[in-house]
Amino acid sequence: MSYFSDIINGTKTLITGMRITGKYFFVNLFTRKDVITQQYPDNIDTLKMFDRFRGEITLYHNENNEHKCDACTLCVSACPNGSLEVFGDKKPDPETGKNKRYLVKHIYHLEMCTMCGLCIEACPQDALEWGQDYHHVQYDRSKLTKVLNKPGSKLMSGIKG
């Protein structure tokens, strides 16, 4: 008699669904614990984005102000929008005496970036990473163009150029 078992099964699954949504409702009604809405301008000081949020591209610097970029420009070729510009130069390495490439300027045009993440994947040194800053509003377009390597930073030791 699939007719009656259908009715019973149907009722059971409906109740399962209602139990799940009902839990959401009552938990949120009384505790607001799981609410994911951010009341944005109000909590601007405390709002912290989650780890995987794609806010902007940043260049990783360690505590000695060293980054991992050797200016290979692979990220520039990977970017579909031309949002990155890398300027490198060469100078003799003190240890080996050979010419070695080093990073002068890593320029990032935030206004052209679609947060696709291709540059991060392309980088052989894992030098780039996501930043969680979301507050990018500016009155002037030129302020969205950023230099990613910090002033005075150098290449981390152990990275081949």
């Binding site: 409906l14 209602m18 949504t21 409702f25 949120n28 799981d34 609410v35 994911i36 809405t37």
Partner: protein, 350 residues
């Protein structure tokens, strides 16, 4: 106390006018009051729906305009009032314009029968439930006309679906009501409530009453065109269905009427199964305004159930909709009526 206010007004009017003129003035006053109730109910329920939906979806819902966002829907209504009424060139302009009024008029007419408390009921005739079901089925015509007169394929499909859905589910609603009428033995709403003084019908009629309640809830959701039975509007396939071409206030009429219809269906459920304005175990029978309080609480409970359905279940396909009605609800309903009749005959009710 309320009655006193009413008789005071009555006497006041009598001082200045003849008997007939007083009668007509009173009717006009009551109509104005019900228009007010209609608007307030609609706006409040829209707000409630949005707030509840927010909590169901782990959001907050509207909470900026006024305390708890209470004035949000009023702001929205003001926006709709100020909007231009647009229409299509090839629409049947007369039908197009009168269609919304069918919907609100029927909603208002049904509202007149709702017993808000022992004293507050505008129209208490002896065939109350029959009147209610027949009047509320006129509302379909408004939706049908809107679908036809807009001269838009989405509207037309929406209107056609309304026809199918309403005619099918009206049967189930009607038969669920008949089941309870078998138990009550009367169609008059005030008498039905009186009969529940020593136990609400859902307890008096136990098994068949519970089945009838479940059927009524399912068919009632379908009658008010709410998710999961919102094929008529079906935003994702039909734009907005029958009211695609309506804007501004004309759209607002449909929107409010939908919510008021939900209120009416919830009220019928409360009257038939949960004792209307009666307090549980008669604890507050002596307090004059308590009826209104209990009625509101119960209706909000039932409306909350409707909202719970809405934010849980996905929409039906049209064939599933018909299968549910004609192969499941209708046969079960028929058996249920016989069961109820047997119970009443053998005196097995509580």
């Amino acid at each position: 106390m309320v009655l006193n206010i009413f008789t005071d007004i009555h006497n006041l009017l009598l001082e200045y006018m003849s008997e007939e003129a007083t009668h007509i003035t009173e009717l006009i006053l009551i109509a104005a009051a019900y228009l007010g109730i209609f608007a307030i109910l609609g706006l409040l329920l829209v707000w409630l729906e949005r707030r509840v939906a927010g909590f169901f979806q782990l959001r907050l819902g509207p909470n900026r305009v006024g305390p708890f966002g209470l004035f949000q829907t009023i702001a929205d209504a003001l926006k709709l009032v100020s909007k231009e009424l647009t229409g299509t060139v090839k629409a049947d302009s007369q039908l197009y314009r009168i269609a919304p009024y069918f919907v609100i008029t029927t909603a208002l007419m049904s509202l007149a029968l709702i017993p808000f408390s022992q004293e507050i009921q505008a129209f208490d005739i002896n065939i109350g439930l029959f009147f209610l079901t027949s009047v509320s089925s006129i509302g379909v015509i408004g939706i049908f006309l809107a679908g036809w007169a807009s001269n838009n394929k989405y509207s037309l499909i929406g209107g056609m679906r309304t026809g199918i859905q309403m005619i099918s589910y009206e049967l189930s609603v009607g038969m669920a009501i008949v089941t309870m009428v078998v138990l009550a033995g009367t169609l008059q709403i005030s008498e039905i409530i009186e009969l529940q003084k020593d136990g609400w019908f859902i307890f008096q009629g136990h098994i068949p009453a519970v089945i009838a309640f479940m059927i009524f809830m399912i068919a009632g959701t379908a009658e008010s065109n709410r998710v999961p039975f919102d094929l008529v509007e079906a935003e994702s396939e039909l734009g907005a269905g029958f009211h695609t071409e309506y804007s501004g206030m004309n759209f607002a009429y449909y929107f409010l009427a939908e919510f008021v219809n939900m209120f009416i269906i919830a009220s019928i459920a409360v009257v038939l199964f949960f004792g209307g304005w009666l307090s549980p175990f008669g604890i507050t029978d002596a307090i004059p305004f308590a009826g209104l309080f209990w009625f509101t609480i119960k209706v909000i409970g039932v409306i909350f159930l409707f909202m719970w359905f809405r934010w849980t279940f996905p929409r039906f396909r049209i064939d599933q909709l018909l299968t549910l009605e004609w192969k499941y609800l209708l046969p079960i309903n028929m058996v249920n009526i016989v069961l109820m009749a047997l119970m009443v005959w053998l005196g097995l009710t509580l």
